[in-house]
Subunit: 273 residues, 2 copies
Amino acid sequence: MNYNELVNQIKTKQSFLCVGLDSDKRKLPKHLFETNDPIFEFNKAIINNTAKYTVAYKPNIAFYESEGPKGWISLQKTVDYIRTYFPEIFIIADAKRGDIGNTSKLYARAFFENMDVDAITVAPYMGEDSVSPFLDYDNKWVILLALTSNKGADDFQYHNDNGKALFETVLEKSQQWAGKEQMMYVVGATRSEMLQDIRKIVPDHFLLVPGVGAQGGSLQEVATYGINKNCGLLVNSSRGIIFADSSENFAHIAGIKAQKMQKEMAKLLELNS
Amino acid sequence: MNYNELVNQIKTKQSFLCVGLDSDKRKLPKHLFETNDPIFEFNKAIINNTAKYTVAYKPNIAFYESEGPKGWISLQKTVDYIRTYFPEIFIIADAKRGDIGNTSKLYARAFFENMDVDAITVAPYMGEDSVSPFLDYDNKWVILLALTSNKGADDFQYHNDNGKALFETVLEKSQQWAGKEQMMYVVGATRSEMLQDIRKIVPDHFLLVPGVGAQGGSLQEVATYGINKNCGLLVNSSRGIIFADSSENFAHIAGIKAQKMQKEMAKLLELNS
């Protein structure tokens, strides 16, 4: 998917919601274990009930990888399902990969050729040649970790070189590798006070913002400080939507939660238009 | 495997060789494609011919992940094969994972419970809570990226905070998370001139050193600057051993290459004892 298609989807749906498909097998509703592939059945029901309010899905790969080869099959089926029934939706593999160039190429093949997602999250520590193989694909995106939502972000991401924090250097330097059509950045909602400064460095790029909800970030603050003229935000919610309910009614409740966020987002888009 | 067992294996085999099982399907000898699982058959032959000279195997996960669910099965079979026939050998999943705490837990489960490797490489960018879930397992190790062998290492790893490069901060801070019994560091052989300084910060830890051979690093320099009283080195070679020959004789040639490195290592261990 290209930049304009993503922006148009946001305008059409009046939403910049990304639903995190962190489908931890131990947390799935009990009745799904009567099926052959509980993770896929869970995802399918969540997708059917939230797609209307959602512009992106973001499976975190750890939840699939931890189930072995079967987990990878559930993931592939999930991506295929979205592609078939909701082809307008942006798919992010939240994989946080990154290796030396000739090895990152293989990760790019895994996610962009075998699996055909739109974007992958990448850790920046190993620098340009660990990132650039993912940029060799037209209309595919890298979402680079900049300032993450977790406590450990304080350990290295603020490492200060002449007044410049590491995450700021990551934002600056990586703009030489790709523009706003192929690169996004992860900025945690728990750091929303930093969004104003971040927008000075990357005014036009999309930011993928996790941490709203379960991790404590505020949607309104994120929008106030982070929104740009094309929205420029994908705000992720995982547990707050997909695990809002654990009864047989779980998918319906997830839909209601997603709709609630979409309505808030529509207001924020209007306020900032 | 614990620290003493690893040190004893090095003494017994007079080797600190780690063979990288970067078993890129496109590079395998043609005749293996007559078998059901060419990657596993390749690994098995390589292992049978190199195990005597080798203290560690390091499959880089990208080469398996890029083959989809089948690749994960080849990887699991490879780990099981080493465990069964060469239980003294240390197994490293070169995965470069790392995510927020509750997600890293799932990666830890994937590699330490489902797969039972001894160690996993982890990217430090997200800090302590992205690393610590891997440390909850007895006798399992984190191998943290410090100074990598690739060109992109220059982009962020030297980010300088008051005279301290980022990789030095990573080395210092992470020592609060685990000691030499559970933590190692990746230091590229292409940066061997830095090993002397690195040994001042982590005198007792094991270092995993990639980049000897195909990437241009020198084994002798690595030993001169990096060896400590318990050796403290695992030097990795991948392509230089496993793809030294592409005929039906490939595994025999790989064995000869591994033996050659083992002999050099025996000399270096003697010189530095």
